[in-house]
Symmetry: C2
Subunit: 162 residues, 2 copies
């Protein structure tokens, strides 16, 4: 029996496309913020969307790189601390998009069920680490939608993923 003929609940390529679709939407949300509000606006003392984006950037590409290389490194947000404009964030976002695509190509189907100690803290099968990245992004982006609404700005459609 050819392995290709065995049905997958979701294929690796399809999961990548799903993740990058979410990342494309988050990129639109960054774009939707006025420059000043991206760095300054928040509700109830929560983090600004720039700070939330720091977290998202510190997870997605660095975490996948760690997974692919089976290299356990502590979580750090230092990489974006010098960014001061939305344009710089968007550039960093696009660099991460490419890195994710490149590293994803190194993941075999059998890797997803392997346990990996992400950031030396989260010891789970790789598929659950990856689903966590996606969910965490959707969660924080949901906050960003409330910030945009509170600023009187119409957020992008949730189903828009290109």
């Amino acid at each position: 029996m050819d392995t290709l003929s065995v049905p997958q609940v979701i294929s690796s390529q399809d999961l990548l496309k799903h993740w990058q679709g979410h990342r494309a939407l988050t990129r639109r949300v960054i774009e939707a913020f006025p420059e000043k509000d991206f760095f300054e606006f928040s509700i109830a003392g929560m983090r600004t969307f720039a700070k939330l984006t720091d977290e998202l950037l510190a997870i997605a590409s660095p975490a996948l790189k760690g997974i692919v290389n089976r290299e356990v490194k502590p979580f750090t947000e230092g990489d974006t601390e010098n960014l001061t404009t939305k344009a710089q964030y968007l550039q960093k976002w696009d660099e991460a998009t490419k890195e994710i695509n490149d590293n994803w190509a190194k993941l075999a189907d059998e890797d997803f069920s392997v346990t990996f100690n992400l950031f030396g803290q989260y010891e789970f099968p790789i598929i659950h680490n990856i689903l966590y990245f996606i969910d965490n992004e959707v969660h924080h982006r949901g906050q960003g939608y409330v910030y945009l609404r509170a600023l009187g700005i119409e957020p992008p459609f949730f189903w828009e993923r290109q």
Copy 2:
């Protein structure tokens, strides 16, 4: 070759567990709202968390039932319009949890790649309909976290899924 020996990116059982884990967290968020605020509090004219919960309940179990029975029905939120207490919502939530488990058992691995016209509107492979339910819930729950923070209430931990 035994099909069981072929690596899955994610197994059907694991995806169900992932979804129900998110639903358990959303249940905690409903619980965290003060009774009155669940029905009345909102930011910037967005829906209350009760209204968002109406949507989540109108999607999850009814949509999965439609998928399993390949029965195309329009989307409707009518089922929860008479609920007036958090306790009633939580009961409805728990009923949906059981229905989802029961209907999930009827999905075979090969079903996930089959295209289904959800609510007569969203024609996608079943896996993408299901991922959409989960993402939509995480998205709206993210709004709920902002509502709770604005009310001075500490939301449940995002990683708490039991």
